[in-house]
Symmetry: C2
Subunit: 207 residues, 2 copies
């Protein structure tokens, strides 16, 4: 099957599979099954087999999946057989927490540069990163060839910064501001909005 | 239709609709359409109409949706016609960023109490909240009747804290640690893992 035809919702589950497989490998396991993986993730084994079958044949009937092999294949499919440079825009509390988070590099991403528009923050440090001014943002991102940005600025500034990211040829934005960004089809956006998750769960809670 | 039979993926889109409608209302709009809402969110208008029809009839053919009415109905469906008390566990960089985030109260949630296991943090402040010891966590949460927790502790502690939350009768956990928690079916878990979103987007990026 042509991977570009695979539904986006299926693509969205592959990183979950990869995360669970990586954990299993770290626990010293070598073989798993769609049942075990599904039990771990709360996804049916049939769904997992169907998702994976869109990209090829990764296990033999009855013998399960080789964890390391399947993880490597998923990394290849997701273009994680390389490290991606990422810029972080916004060095407030949230930006600082992101800069200090140690979980990016093992999973394919390296924060390359951190930016803020607050003169009092420029030249200070967010974790291991010196905070740079956004004055030269477009040129900086182009010079470094950065295609992925984590956007941790206030909602009121998010669209304005996004226009500059688009001008700098950024192709993927992880937006922490609680708004929907307007971008051309050629730019991917994913959102981190904790309230959406909380509101999803309250549906299931009795008052 | 019985709302308890509505697929979880549909429930997950309702908070997105509510967020977009709230933004429209703030911009002074009174009426919208499934086309406009869909354009805003990158979801087809047919999908939006189908999702909403699972819960009733919220607009008349050709006249669109009354924004305030539809937002109120979504709040009712999602049990957001009340404010939910939430506890935050973990007062590191991330916990502090969450404690300082101003976007909860307008959307149905109030941080009631913040906890950490680090003696040097107990009694200090994370934003407007005094940090409490986890020693009495189960009793505290039960006494306050808290059913929702945001979990911002290291991955190595997340399952252990989760066992205590389950014992305290917590029913919904928003987990910021990059692991899958084991919980009984009666407990809902949602995850915030920025790397999953980044890995989803790299599928679409050329190397």
């Amino acid at each position: 099957m042509n991977p570009s035809k695979v539904p986006d919702i299926v693509i969205g589950r592959l990183p979950l599979y990869l995360r669970a497989l990586t954990q299993m490998a770290q626990d010293g396991k070598e073989i798993t099954s769609s049942q075990e993986l599904g039990g771990e993730l709360g996804i049916s084994s049939a769904q997992i087999r169907k998702d994976l079958s869109q990209f090829g044949e990764f296990g033999k009937q009855g013998t399960g999946y080789n964890i390391e092999f399947l993880a490597d294949q998923l990394k290849r499919i997701l273009h994680l057989d390389q490290i991606w440079d990422v810029a972080l825009i916004g060095a407030g509390d949230l930006g600082t927490a992101i800069a200090n988070y140690g979980g990016f590099i093992d999973r394919g991403f390296r924060i390359r540069s951190v930016y803020d528009n607050d003169p009092s923050k420029i030249g200070t440090w967010a974790g291991a990163y010196e905070v740079h001014s956004v004055d030269q943002l477009e040129k900086d991102l182009r010079d470094m060839g950065i295609k992925i940005v984590m956007l941790a600025v206030p909602a009121s500034h998010a669209q304005e910064v996004t226009e500059r990211l688009i001008a700098a040829d950024v192709k993927a934005i992880l937006c922490y501001a609680p708004i929907s960004l307007s971008v051309p089809d050629s730019v991917k956006v994913q959102y981190i909005d904790p309230v959406l998750h909380l509101q999803h769960m309250t549906f299931y809670l009795s008052k």
